[in-house]
């Protein structure tokens, strides 16, 4: 498999505070990479670094093209869709307007048929079509955030804790849909999760982050089955 996203010796931080101290990470084309670690390890910062929301040094390569220190909007236009923590939906706007904004940079004519496809994944969003996004339930908002990101027709989807604050049944729903999406769209996914079990089940490659450094990496299945790693890092 060819690499869709490659991070090489990536450093990042906020002001004087360094958060990432040289990260190497790969997402294969059409593959799922999970990024695990405790709070404050630098998972969210890694996603932000990929889409240019923090200053970085080191290399970020998307399908062979360097994208580090480009503007966030230019990275989005190259096919990187990010569902950030806090979801990144437009609370004041309707579901319909959020959909339209998701497809904002697209010029093709298949946008409307993609809307239908999203209704296929998330039927509840059709019922909420004219409703303000801020009035949706937490699960519906997460669905809207994912739909909004997919409407970019991304090559790479960044997901920041899609299970956060949601009931287990909804989480199951969402991961079921993410599996379908992965099959249907061939999009590469980099997912950050607190719920290691869930993430390792979904991913084919995983990295464990500890205070800004990668301490374990490998195929997701091996990490899941490695008792040592599970006990010392994942805590179950």
């Amino acid at each position: 498999m060819t690499a869709l996203l490659e991070l090489r010796d990536l450093h990042a931080g906020y002001g004087q505070t360094r958060v990432l101290h040289g990260i190497d990470l790969t997402v294969d084309a059409g593959g799922v990479t999970a990024l695990l670690g405790a709070n404050g390890a630098g998972k969210t910062t890694t996603l932000r670094a990929v889409c240019g929301m923090v200053r970085t040094t080191g290399e970020v390569t998307l399908a062979g093209e360097r994208i580090d220190n480009r503007a966030t909007e230019d990275i989005a236009r190259r096919g990187v869709a990010h569902v950030p923590d806090g979801r990144g939906t437009f609370m004041e706007l309707t579901v319909e307007e959020n959909f339209k904004l998701g497809a904002y940079v697209r010029k093709d004519r298949e946008v409307t048929s993609d809307f239908e496809q999203m209704f296929g994944y998330f039927p509840r969003l059709r019922q909420r079509w004219k409703q303000q996004a801020g009035t949706l339930s937490g699960g519906e908002q997460q669905m809207l955030a994912i739909a909004r990101a997919l409407l970019l027709r991304p090559r790479l989807l960044l997901l920041d804790e899609p299970s956060f604050g949601l009931a287990p049944l909804i989480v199951q729903d969402i991961f079921g849909i993410l599996r379908q999406v992965r099959e249907a769209q061939g999009v590469g996914i980099l997912i950050v999760e607190q719920n290691a079990n869930l993430a390792l089940d979904f991913a084919d490659r995983a990295y464990l982050l500890e205070t800004g450094r990668i301490v374990v990496s490998g195929p997701a299945q091996e990490i899941r089955e490695d008792e040592q790693i599970r006990r010392s890092y994942l805590g179950y």
Partner: protein
Amino acid sequence: MQGLAHQLVAGIATGGIYASVALALVMIYQSTHHLNFAQGEMATFSTYIALTLINVGLPYWIAFVLTILISFAMGVFIERVMLKPMHNASVLANVGVFIGLLLVFRNAMGWIFDYTIKAFPSPFESDHPLLGGLISGHELGSTAVTLGVLGIVYVFFRFTKLGLAMRAAAFNASSSRLVGIRVGWMLALGWGLAAAIGAIAGMMIAPVVFLEPNMMLGILLYAFAGALLGGIDNPGGAVIGGFAVGIIENLGGAYLVGTELKLTLALGIIICVLLVKPSGLFGRVVQSRV
């Protein structure tokens, strides 16, 4: 009764001007959370440009359209050159830039066009009062123009892709970047639109109050009162607030405090709103569940 009806109609006519300027203020406030103190001076400057074009011999409506285009470009230019470097600066630094802008415009106008009061032509027949003396031709015409402008702005923001992107950029800049919207340019476009709207307001009020560098000073105050009354973060509310202030000002001036104290009404409205309902009548209340 005739007098009351006339004051009401005149209130709506000037209210349209206040509504336009209030809209210009709110458009910039929404995306930057700063009040552009120089909005009035920019509008006056645009009106001088219009007068210059008319004096050169251009027909009124061609000068009108050219002035709008020039003002739009001026607004975009000011944002890109003067405000863009200030995006991460403190509130006070931004206020400093706005006041600086105000002073630069005012003094530049005095220097280029001198401080004498000038007459500005109206494109509408204003000698014969219409509807039995109820309304002058200029009042009717300028009300139609401002209503037309407000309608166009509404349609633009509500139904076009660019309008939606500009609203998105104002509500949530970081999410907008994630869907590929060039937020910086949306801000610049907002400045351009605000300057263009201000230019139209200036050209419509100048035949009534006459043109001089301080022409928009009182109008900006009324517009600000209107914007606060309607809700400083709600464009629709600001427009309604602008009309309301126009009517209150005219009725109050005629029956309550007299013309000399009219401007105090605006200050009174500002103080009342801030005391009683700081978010204004239609201030945005974001509903959210987590």
